[in-house]
Symmetry: C2
Subunit: 262 residues, 2 copies
DNA sequence: CTCAATTTGTTCGTATGTATG
DNA sequence: ACATACATACGAACAAATTGA
């Protein structure tokens, strides 16, 4: 067991994994720059107050993931630019949402389609409709999965174009549909952990942190026409917020193609 | 080592900790309700495909944290309502920000005051001013820490009322200050891991997930007058977003006391 | 009160992983 | 690389407490 006055006791995670996470963060935050040499084992021993073997185990983890490259007699070097891994920015308006999924090159993979599943559980506003269609799918970018979505779409609306809804992004279609008027749209973000299913589909470990987003869209009859639960690997995830935006609802139009403000 | 076809292999975290996290999530999501009995060891063995000993180690973790209570011959019961732990909602507008810190009963603890520290590193807009004052502090609610803040305030502004700035929430004072006109305010949220310092102050484990918020406020001279990096324990954290809010800046007034819309 | 069913707690043997010096 | 100590994980059997018949 390790020594005494460290802060590592609180967590029962193996020491070398805790250290590996701290090192990974050093690289992510560019305290240790891409391509640069990281401190020597002697220095790291003093910094983290753990044994040499523990440090080697931690570095072994990072090397296995291709994050560092070690050469005897030379040193350890950062071999992957983790500062670029946080590319996904969660849309914070309906317009952004339409733009985002339209712009990104994503591949949709239907995984399991218990087509006529139960209505959506919810922590939100609006009333449940009589029937829903459920889709479970994974979004990819460059062959790497970046989110797992479970979505319920109002039955009547889905049946207008089942093929389209099953194979393409749903939000843009909802917004474009004549006869559908979106009255409310909200989402909530929490930090949770990956379960077996999520871990498998997102290629992460069970218990790893994920961003859990819960999104609800309500039409002018006050009916929930879209309810989605989405999970993103924490490392890829980011939200940018403009604190000066108006807190009141504002313009009704969402189909607009207007870009940024002039 | 454990058997075969489980998904647990990907992570090198001890199996019992992975299981503990999954069970904790069951309780948090109220799949296992407060006060209710959770499945028996035999059932859990089949569900998670792990040995009795591993389950007991996992349950031991939860019992240690007061989350479950075990009685021989009776069963294991949920002893804490984790669905109430996610009370903190990150403000998403300047108005909310002012309201939030004003409303909450918080205790501010100055911890370390390298008063005239270096200017803020930034991933944002606006220009750096000539001098900053840095404060590092922890916010408490009911004697439990819920965030660690490192904030840089423009030197000139800080010196107007150093006592006030050091001991009270900063944002409301900035907003109320005459002669200061807030032109931009943005924040970014990421999911990172607790380092030794953060873990100590927030009473969590090293490597545990935290919500990392980076907030910048710029005045009408395009100068950064406030730059903060804030860390929240992931379990307490939540963001609620209204997707229908206008994407364009909107009203300038922020000192207003107007409540919700009528 | 006793009995049986249920459920958690304990122990043994064995193997591997983690951590120190 | 070695010696040592402790933690993790399995399976299986057995012990002890609780409940209700």
């Amino acid at each position: 067991m390790h020594s005494d006055t460290t802060v590592f006791q609180k967590s029962r995670m193996p020491l070398y994994l805790q250290v590996a996470k701290l090192m990974r963060h050093q690289i992510e935050s560019q305290a240790w720059g891409f391509g640069e040499q990281i401190p020597t084992l002697d220095e790291l021993e003093r910094t983290y107050r753990v044994s040499r073997i523990t440090l080697r185990a931690a570095l072994g983890q990072l090397e296995e993931m291709g994050i560092v490259r070690r050469t005897r007699g030379l040193g350890t070097f950062v071999a992957k630019d983790l500062s670029q891994e946080r590319w996904f920015k969660l849309p914070t308006t309906l317009d952004e949402l339409v733009e985002a999924v339209a712009d990104l090159k994503i591949r949709l993979l239907p995984i399991e389609e218990g087509s006529s599943s139960r209505p959506a559980p919810s922590i939100a506003c609006g009333e449940l409709g009589p029937s829903y269609r459920r889709l479970l799918r994974v979004h990819y970018r460059d062959d790497t999965p970046y989110c797992l979505i479970s979505v319920h779409v109002d039955g009547e609306i889905f049946d207008v174009a089942p093929q389209e809804f099953s194979s393409k992004p749903i939000i843009p279609q909802l917004v474009a549909l004549r006869g559908v008027r979106i009255e409310q749209a909200k989402q909530t973000m929490r930090i949770t952990v990956a379960n077996e299913t999520t871990a498998r589909h997102l290629d992460i470990g069970v218990g790893d942190p994920v961003a859990h987003v819960c999104r609800t869209i309500v039409d002018d009859r006050n009916r929930i026409i879209y309810y989605a639960e989405i999970e993103y690997p924490a490392q890829m995830f980011q939200i940018e917020m403009d604190l000066m935006r108006s807190a009141t609802p504002a313009p009704r139009r969402t189909r607009t193609t207007s870009k940024r403000r002039p």
